[in-house]
Symmetry: C2
Subunit: 671 residues, 2 copies
């Protein structure tokens, strides 16, 4: 009867006196995984407290999801009951982490013993208390250790001198031995399913090039093929790209096909939008006959990989009215009262060449499975990266299921979300599993906007799940800045994308040939867009930016500091047109400082101010900044230095910062 | 076979397209309840998004925990996909809240129809789509509503004019009708056990007076009794207090009893510390014979309640060596190798008159039940408020169990935590169920410290679970500020406590008689502390602060703005010794502005600056500030005004701010 109420309490929990809370990182309390790439570290923090004044022992637990046993890493106290530890994720896939903590009565006893002795108190009884702890540990320890512990306990119980007993009690070897066999009867475990998804390194550091294969023919007028793209690989690799993203390569619908410049009526020879997927020749698992065969595609994937280029495929879950699904699975579409399929629309705009799928269909399970089988099909052809078209128009739950299910068997596969949508939706999709995301970079042009936005992406909790991929242009986005800024604007946006983001991409050859013509004033659509027609590009035009791009990408390759996002810091410049930021490596061995003139029209100069201490620079010593773009070198003194950039010549400095390591009486030598 | 994988997904979840996240308030994601008092509102916010562009419908759900059905309140969108709604907690006890949201295809259809019509599109088919939605709702609706819906659908399907159909489709009455029978097949419910604990109003707004009953005798030398305390009720009520907190009233141990001024050796007539609970006469359920009988105590509780004063009892889970538990339940204590019970200590300090309980005992269930029975015993005697001694030295889980268990049957009972400990522990205890908490106010003296700390307590998430009770002094805390600042220092700290905090308390008569003598220099202990001896106080001393306290407490009673914490805002003053803050009621009907001179020695003057717009004041009109302490009135103009305070006269203004409602040509009349 007196036990009635307390028994309703979880018996196992009642005597666990340590509580663990405020664990970071944890996205929405562990509802979503955090993200890392292979070889990165996870630094974990938590508030750990107990009642009373006893000493707490705490450990960080971690394991690959498929492993049974936890591995352990130390947690050490910072201030204000905050503890910290870290572990490294050495393999692809899902990892778990948790925290264990308990009251350490032995170390409490050691600490208090010292205080008692200092205060001159009699500690005879205390020695027996300590011996008791050792004997308990003895019972938990294997033979050899048990013997040692027993021997020590005997000293404390024995007739020896106080000095001998104290030396035994406080012996670091004893502390270490005791810590191996702790009393964990009342251990508290914080295990809220905290998960790390470990992606390949390319999910963090990647350099994307998008192109339309059908525009890859060497001569004008001909429909480009996978073989043409293969022939262009040296050009792409030469610029330093390592992901080649192709818009959909499937058969294109004929019904309601769009003509050039999005004309609702197509001419007979118009090629249509690659996103109007599906025709008599097949759907999402077929290739467009004019591009070649599936074998050609697979060969392209292989040849690209030989040059360290991954081919990324477009994943657009929508069909043209001619898609085989329409007849085979009418239940996957929404039907209108006039017995036609509901086409895509954003009223009053209509996209009659495209049918969306009805995710509210009773047949959703078949639909999901079919969509998954599309991904598996292309994985079998060698594809490892998918760029997902408009994921924000398909249900969140679907993505969470699809991506986690695919990554279970293929942890090396990853997905880029093209979710140009509301911020909360963009972030939610990232939480659900997308490894990279397009974002608002294309529309951030002022210093304030850029610093504000990139700080949000790289210095707040967002970075735990959202990896930005920065694109200055795409086939849908030709910003006014690029339209009016000319060649310098393209250089500026390239340097910004390539140095602000560990991952960035361009849509070429429109980018390197700085295509600036919009379909109409005020539009961000390209005139004569490749979305609706084949274009022929003169890749060898002397004013092409390909060499500049190659140089920037080589700088990225040679400087590990530029291959990560979390190390981005902005600094003040007294000119609003000049932006300054650094990416320093953790060990300060590779230190990059970037200054960009955001004004594509005029020379701009200004004083920038660096926090030398944070950058590991000695304020009393000069330091060298070496511009990796233009190869000039400057010797700077103190925090304030003047810079000037003429956009016609070079709109940016990408400095490698070198600390002086000898005095000026030595030969000049910089680390 | 193709169904295999998707079936592992929760079938019920797959087609729920709306997601709800970022729900506030929620303490640690719903692990702990938020707190309110009866009649308060709960404002709930959430991010609610769906894929695509459809219109979302959302509701706030709430109910008393014991009710089966949710009540509903509207949620309305703010910006950036954030939604907000509120509900009122009208009863004591636990309430639950949740959020429901779904895609509203009917309102999507209405919205898009307008766009289509504006664009001059043919909407004949659309009318049939709309009729379909109405017919579906018809099937869900009761008879009368169903008929209406059917009639409307017929109009849309009929041969009438476009105008007639459009008028029907966009009729607000139809919108309202449809919203009553929505298609909620794929409704998303965010129900993470979000809980509100609703306390009595006194948990938010209370004015505490602590005194030692044994010092309540009218003549020196006699041991005070409950009857003496009863006789003092008019004095306490006269000062405006509504909680009378008594240190433990139980028999006091004799073994190792402490003498005056914490002398380890007691004289035969020394009365000992009331916190050394338990003797031959009984333990936690007995009263000290010298204080009177249990009946006397109950009568005191009753008489106090007649004056709107609740008697708060001290709950100190510890025993003297003479406590009956020691013999009856030796297993509840920790034993030393010399077969003595482990006394309380914080090495090298020893408290040999006190035995702590061993919460790690195998008999923890009996221990917990016994402790609960103590609370129930005193509840049966009429006690509704418990001040808990050092809760941070007992396990967290115990408190969570005890408090929630007690409040299940007695939701009007509440607990004040005396957790003068590390900040994370203090906050954790509040999360676990303590309705009020002592805090660091006593040691916050500078303007910066006070503003910083009170802002943390009242303007951050902390306020959802932590209700501060501000004490300028306690029997353990005589701050240096009070020791050296004299009478003005006590006035200053009283005004600060009483106006910064909706709940505050003093330890008297030491406070109103501004007792300043520490046991020794540098100590915060009182000389001749009542913890160890009986004191006789001259309550009628002419320099007593009792009238000042009465006035301040009357101002609190008459001004609802001072009865809450969340409305506290600090304003700049150009003198570091002057602090200025406001508490305005939500409807701006009761507007209090406080200015305090923190310097107890010198007159201080300065310019303060008020954000007139936020305060509902017209910058072009003068406004009146009426000092409720000194009864002076000032006519102020604009945001900057000069104040000056002489601590010898009055160290503070407590202004009621009155907006001018007529022009100066009318009689002066202020709202």
């Amino acid at each position: 009867m007196p036990r009635r109420q307390a028994e309703t309490w979880e018996t196992g929990k009642a005597r666990k006196r340590v509580v663990i809370e405020g664990v970071k990182p944890a996205v929405d309390g562990g509802r979503f995984p955090i993200k890392r790439t292979v070889g990165e570290k996870v630094t974990v923090e938590a508030d750990i407290v107990t009642d009373g004044h006893e000493v707490i022992a705490a450990q960080l637990l971690y394991r690959r999801e498929q492993d049974l046993d936890w591995q352990r890493a130390p947690l050490t106290p910072l201030v204000n009951d905050r503890w910290q530890g870290e572990f490294q994720v050495t393999d692809l896939g899902r990892w778990r982490y948790a925290i264990a903590a308990w009251v350490d009565r032995f170390r409490t006893w050691q600490r208090d013993l010292a205080k008692r002795v200092d205060a001159g108190q009699d500690v005879a009884i205390e020695m027996l208390v300590g011996a008791g702890f050792m004997e308990e540990a003895q019972a938990r320890a294997p033979k050899a250790a048990a013997k040692k512990l027993g021997d020590k306990a005997k000293i404390l119980r024995g007739e020896g001198s106080l000095e001998e007993k104290l030396a035994t009690a406080q012996d670091p070897a004893l502390t270490e031995l005791m810590s191996r066999y702790p009393d964990q009867r009342f251990i508290s475990i914080y295990d809220k399913n905290l998960t790390v998804v470990v992606d390949p390194v390319k999910a963090r550091y990647s350099t994307w090039y998008e192109m339309f294969p059908r525009s890859a023919a060497t001569e004008p007028g001909r429909h480009g093929t996978f073989k043409d793209v293969e022939a262009r690989l040296p050009y792409i690799a030469g610029m330093g790209f390592d992901v080649l993203y192709l818009p959909p390569v499937h058969p294109i619908g004929r019904t309601n096909r769009k003509g050039k410049n999005n004309n609702p009526v197509a001419e007979p020879d118009d090629v249509g939008s690659p996103w109007a997927i599906g025709a008599a020749e097949g759907g999402h698992k077929a290739v467009h006959p004019d591009l070649g065969t599936l074998e050609d595609f697979c060969r392209l994937v292989e040849k690209a990989r030989e040059k360290n280029i991954e081919v990324a495929l477009d994943l657009a879950y929508q069909g043209s009215p001619d898609h085989p699904y329409v007849k085979e699975h009418p239940g996957w579409f929404r039907w209108r009262p006039d017995n036609t399929v509901q086409y895509a629309e954003n009223p009053p705009k209509k996209y009659e060449d495209i049918y969306p799928f009805d995710f509210e269909t009773e047949d959703w399970q078949e639909l999901w499975e079919e969509f998954k089988s599309i991904v598996l099909f292309w994985i079998e052809q060698g594809v490892r990266i998918f760029r997902v078209d408009n994921p924000h128009t398909k249900p969140f739950h679907f993505w969470e299921w699809l991506i986690s299910d695919i990554k279970k068997d293929y942890p090396e596969v990853f997905f880029l979300a093209e979710a140009f949508t509301r911020p909360k939706v963009m972030y939610r999709l990232a939480k659900l599993g997308f490894s990279q995301s397009y974002n608002y970079f294309a529309w951030r042009h002022t210093k304030w906007d850029l610093a504000q936005y990139l700080t949000e992406l790289t210095r707040t909790e967002v970075r735990e799940y959202f990896r930005p991929n920065l694109w200055p242009n795409t086939p849908d986005i030709l910003t006014e800045y690029l339209q009016f800024g000319g060649r310098p604007a393209f250089m500026i946006r390239l340097v910004l994308a390539a140095t602000l983001g560990a991952s960035y991409g361009i849509y070429g050859p429109a980018f390197e040939l700085w295509e600036t013509r919009p379909r109409e004033p005020g539009s961000e659509e390209y005139l004569d867009s490749e979305k609706y027609e084949i274009r022929h590009w003169d890749l060898e035009r002397p004013d092409s930016l390909k060499d500049f791009i190659a140089r920037v990408n080589r700088i990225r390759r040679e400087n590990p500091a530029l291959q990560q996002d979390w190390n981005l810091h902005f600094y003040p410049v007294d000119n609003e047109q000049l932006i300054c930021y650094s990416k320093f490596s953790g060990d300060l061995a590779n230190n990059i400082l970037v200054v960009v003139n955001l004004d594509p029209h005029h020379t701009q100069g200004g004083w920038l101010e660096l926090p030398l201490g944070e950058l590991g620079l000695d304020s009393g010593q000069p330091y060298q900044v070496h511009d990796l773009l233009g190869e000039s070198r400057f010797l700077w003194h103190g925090p304030r230095n003047y810079v000037e950039l003429d956009p016609k010549v070079a709109p940016a400095y990408i400095f490698r910062v070198r600390r002086r390591v000898r005095t000026e009486r030595d030969f000049d030598y910089y680390l």
